[in-house]
Amino acid sequence: MNMKSRIALATLFVATTVACQAAGTITVKGSDTLVILAQKWAEVYMGKHPEVKIQVTGGGTGTGFAALQNKTTDLCNASRKIKAKEIATCVAAFNGAKPTEYKVAVDGLSIYVSVENPVKELSLEQLEGIFTGKIKNWKELGGNDAPITLYSRENSSGTYEFFKEHVLNGKDFASSAQTMPGTAAVLQAVAKDKNGIGYGGAAYGAGAKHLPIKPSANEPAIEPTEENVLGQKYPIWRYLYVYVNPALDKGEIAAYLNWIRGDEGQKLVKEVGYFPLPAQWRQK
């Protein structure tokens, strides 16, 4: 065997191994809210299908969409709906196709206050007043005579955006609101500050009190339990999404997407602390 053919053979060998790897690898990128859940899914799925490799990274919903349109990721996790501008860039990159949206889980948002806080429940209207800075003292809500400290999330977080759109009805947060780098940090801060109030995933628990919320002033307050969130009684909840380039939505990727939206995948959603999809959105 002369040198040339040996090199050619080696190249062929490398090329085939790379190709094989590429065929069996699914890359997932995006929302930090979803990253733990996505890792869990990937772990369990890879255990059952050893031929498939799934790589999960976070970085934020926006980063995920950027990667989706650059085709550096197959799936994009998102804690908010895709924006028109992002659809537009995807359309330009995907030859005219819009990315396909899949709902993959439900997340309920809790309102946290300190355990020492005597306030028992709040209405949505009061929440809007508190977080826009109109209500400044706990006294106005039947609590102690103490100023309210607001704990919010970074505006890059899907949770922040959701809360602003749906609880504050698009109004601005009070500028004195502290923006914390994660839900755990919000909880931590509220646990240490007896006049604090914050919001975050219902899955996070220890250290603070989750306040029941009244959808309007006359209705009874509702606890953020699974039953209430899935029954759409509890007023603050949202879907979590996965987006995919429709050209790639076949073979292994489609099988994986079906699996996470099926009963097995949805069982894991609960383990990680989010709420599983209602039956009509599931993959049968």
Partner: protein, 392 residues
């Protein structure tokens, strides 16, 4: 002692008095190229940052919520150039697309306008281009506000991009950090270099320098959990996480830098100065304070400038300890620095969108600000040096 006349040193040191060993010559050139590449790198970074910020700088972005719509069916009635601008595409992208893609893009554009909640359709703010300089720098009375305000809330239906609160936040935390760190660090440097016994010096110096090895995340975490509570119990202010706590935490990062450079400067003052001062009857303290410190002033000043650079550029500590884009000069209210803003928001922005460009504008402004302060500091240092050497 100066040699008579300068030795000729030509381009890249080729015409030198002695002949270098070929290998040495090669190594020298390699190092020279590396240092050149550092300069190139700085330039490239600045060009990159500035390029991304330019559309916002010259008012070429439009962030208004309500935009005029061209119905997809009327695409053919308009000149292609107008459609291209309407869709925000580059010429290359536009020519590569077929009719169907253009049509889909036109439809997406209409969808986006239909998504706007009804309450914002009648809002006069929805028609404003909030990336104009007057909205970036001057207070403005937005709908729902009682008086004009400086608001940084880039996410939402109306994008509010006032950068003043961020600059104030950066200044507040940096000022507290330096006010706390500089006297401590320079005091420690004087003590260690002039007054301490060798034994004490051997312990103190490495210990302070070890402080710079602590990752800023750890410092931030410590400040968030322990220091914030401790300081609140002493001073009794209302906001637990504020610029003051962040500044103190920042000083942990600044102290080792200022200390080690100031200490070097103080130690490198010739021994004869001390000996002369002591021989003339000055006490050790007088010698340190009145002779050594003034002689080492350029170096000490350089230490402070570097400390300032570290403080203004530090991200993680401030991001963890406090982050409220509040327009307030009070040290005991929240603050949000420019660096923390960029770090926190870059991950989720739409690439090429106005928020993205705005963050790059912030980066460019920060770069410019540190560049100017460093330059001014360099000039002042030069003056100091001249005066000390009696050159005037």
């Amino acid at each position: 002692m100066q040699p008579q006349g300068k030795r000729p040193i030509g381009w890249m040191g080729i015409h030198r008095g002695h002949r270098a060993h070929p290998f040495e010559w090669l190594a020298e050139k390699a190092i020279f190229l590396v240092s050149l590449s550092a300069i190139l790198m700085v330039l490239l970074i600045f060009v990159f940052v500035a390029r991304e910020a330019i559309p916002v700088m010259f008012g070429r972005m439009d962030s208004a919520l309500i935009q005029p719509i061209i119905p997809p069916d009327e695409t053919d009635m308009h000149p292609p150039e107008k459609i291209r601008e309407y869709l925000g595409l580059t010429k290359q992208q536009f020519t590569a697309m077929d009719k169907d893609i253009i049509r889909t893009l036109m439809e997406v554009k209409v969808d986006a306008q239909n998504e706007i909640p009804p309450s914002f359709r009648t809002d006069p703010d929805a028609k404003l281009n909030t990336t104009e300089w007057r909205y970036l720098l001057q207070p403005y009375q937005w709908t729902g506000y009682e008086k004009p305000a400086y608001i940084w809330q880039p996410v939402g239906q109306i994008h509010k991009y006032n950068i003043v609160p961020l600059f104030v936040g950066t200044l507040k935390t940096t000022a507290v950090g330096l006010l706390f760190a500089v006297p401590l660090a320079i005091g420690a440097a004087i003590y260690v270099s002039q007054l301490a016994r060798p034994r004490a010096r051997e312990i103190i110096k490495p210990t302070i320098e070890l402080l710079s090895g602590i990752p800023s995340v750890v410092v931030g975490f410590f400040a968030l959990l322990v220091m914030a509570t401790f300081l609140q119990s002493i001073f009794g202010y209302q906001t637990r996480l504020n610029a003051f706590v962040a500044g103190i935490a920042l000083s942990f990062a600044v102290i080792p830098i200022v200390f080690s450079i100031a200490e070097d400067a103080l130690t490198s003052v010739p021994r004869s100065y001390t000996q002369a001062a002591l021989a003339l009857g000055a006490s050790r303290w007088q010698t340190a304070w009145q002779i050594i410190l003034p002689a080492a002033l350029p170096g000490v000043f350089a230490a402070i400038v570097l400390g300032f650079g570290r403080a203004i550029g530090e991200t993680m500590i401030i991001l963890m300890v406090t982050s409220a884009s509040e327009m307030s000069w009070s040290l005991f209210s929240g603050a949000r620095s420019i660096t923390a803003t960029i770090a926190a928001e870059m991950g989720e922005v739409v690439r090429g969108g106005h928020h993205y460009r705005m963050l790059f504008l912030l980066g460019a402004l920060l770069f410019a600000a540190t560049f100017v302060t460093n330059m001014v500091a360099e000039i002042i240092m030069l003056r100091f040096k001249r005066r000390l050497e009696g050159k005037r």
